[in-house]
């Protein structure tokens, strides 16, 4: 009889030393406008901070955005920490400047999808919705 109010909760996080977060904010705004609850933590997050924030906020999805080129170090670290905390049910996608040849290795550590520059926000929204309903 009670009315359930499930919402998709997404953490948009920026690991490492990027100097701007315009892309991350565009993604956050698009997901917000698609009816999701988007938690944004700002620039220069460590993998530890990201994993801990995801845990405390009980998010369904994490979007990692990076421009600095340190993704091969930082992303696996985030994935490892999530695993350690028992959060393997959280879906992780990535965006920013990530060379094509790095994508298979990132998928191997558990990143579900990698979106490059120019990805329409509608693609992202659809991806997040589908990944949660699975």
């Amino acid at each position: 009889m009670s009315t359930r109010e499930k919402k998709i909760r997404v953490l948009i996080a920026k690991p490492g030393l990027d100097s701007h977060d315009r892309g991350a904010k565009i993604v956050a705004r698009a997901l917000r406008d698609a009816g999701m609850e988007v938690i944004y933590t700002g620039l220069r997050q460590t993998p530890e901070q990201i994993a801990e924030t995801a845990l405390q906020e009980d998010v369904d999805v994490i979007g990692l955005s990076i421009l600095s080129g340190a993704h091969m170090t930082l992303f696996p670290k985030v994935m490892q920490l999530l695993k350690k905390k028992g959060m393997t049910d959280v879906k992780v996608f990535a965006g920013g400047i990530i060379p094509e040849e790095d994508i298979p290795a990132l998928k191997k550590v558990g990143i579900k999808e990698v979106f490059g520059p120019g990805t329409p926000t509608t693609t992202l929204i659809e991806y997040v919705r589908n990944s949660v309903s699975k």
Binding site: M1, S2, T3, R4, E5, K6, K7, R9, A28, R29, L31, R32, D33, A34, G35, M36, E37, V38, I39, Y40, T41, G42, Q45, E48, Q49, E52, T53, L55, Q56, E57, D58, K85, G86, M87
Partner: protein, 320 residues
């Protein structure tokens, strides 16, 4: 969805202070899952210990930054801290951008701090429907202090008084003159007023405007509402701010806390009844199709909503 044994495990985790258990429990309550009521009933007996501090004030006054500084100072004093930070839900899309954590980054890895961002989900009054129960969860988890940050509030977002023991109204210089300070609503609910951004021009003028307005009213004889100046940026005045909060807590313990508890109990019961009654009645009427018929009549202007509600209630009373 969740098994009874899962609920038990979750609750045990909450009592241990396990952050994942706290997070999952708050989600169940926030989403109003079928287990939510059971969980609240198990948690409730363990609540009532934490000091609940409400932080409210207009957008951009520096509430989140001040909350971070406040939490850090409480941690220096060996207190454990829970934070619920509320931001608005879009009335158009139902989405929300929860950005209070941006100002609280230094706290994210502190073992003694748990932070939860919460969207209002269109609940009026400056808090979410689930805020009060999330506070109960953090209280039951053993946190010494629970800080609730409201949405950037206007003049009438005053629901925080129903949740917090100590309400802090945070303002910034240049927001208005002494006339604004006399108005009802927000200006009446502060146990402590803080003029943040004290490093800016006109901060002292803002302090004296607020003090002046408070002196016009009838003040509690036991507690003269302090007006402090802080700078969350430089840390100026934070020590005095925390001491004032603790002083207010001691003041409440002299007797007002008991009265406050009784008033809160009444409010909580009224809210629970409202929710239950409307839910039950609406569910029942929907089943019978009367709901649709009534709304159609109202939209066709054949009847007004109040008379329609009267009719429905009368009929409901006749058929138990």
């Amino acid at each position: 969805m969740t098994q009874a044994s899962d609920v038990q495990r979750l609750i045990k985790g909450v009592f241990r202070g396990d952050k994942r258990a706290i997070a999952k429990t708050i989600t169940i309550i926030e989403n109003n899952e079928p287990e939510a009521q059971k969980i609240i009933s198990l948690i409730y007996p363990r609540t009532g210990k934490a000091h609940i501090i409400g932080i409210t004030g207009p957008p951009g006054a520096g509430k989140s930054t001040l909350v971070e500084k406040l939490a850090k100072e409480l941690r220096n004093r060996k207190k454990t801290v829970g934070i619920v930070a509320v931001d608005p839900t879009s009335p158009f899309t139902g989405g929300a951008f929860l950005g209070d954590r941006v100002r609280m980054q230094d706290l994210s890895l502190d073992e003694g701090v748990y932070i939860r961002s919460m969207a209002t989900r269109n609940h009026p009054g400056g808090l979410a429907r689930a805020t009060k129960d999330a506070v109960h969860v953090l209280d039951a988890s053993g946190k010494d202090d629970v800080i609730v940050e409201t949405v950037g509030a206007g003049q009438s977002e005053v629901e925080i008084v129903k949740v917090a023991h100590t309400v802090v109204v945070v303002l910034a210089p240049g927001l208005g003159d002494d006339i604004q300070a006399i108005k009802a609503g927000q200006m009446e609910i502060g146990d402590i007023f803080v003029v943040n951004k004290g490093d800016r021009e006109n901060a002292d003028k803002a302090v004296s405007d607020i003090k002046g307005a408070l002196e016009l009213g009838s003040q509690d004889k036991e507690w003269k509402t302090p007006v402090l100046k802080t700078s969350a940026l430089t840390g100026e005045g934070i020590g005095e701010f925390v001491e004032t909060i603790e002083k207010h807590h001691s003041h409440l313990k002299k007797g007002a806390l008991e009265a406050q508890r009784k008033a809160t109990a009444e409010i909580e019961l009224i809210e629970a009844l409202k929710q239950k009654i409307t839910q039950t009645i609406i569910y029942d009427l929907r089943q019978k199709g009367e709901w649709v018929r009534a709304t159609e009549k109202i939209s066709a202007r054949e009847i007004d909503p109040y008379s329609a509600a009267d009719n429905l209630l009368k009929r409901k009373a006749k058929t138990p």
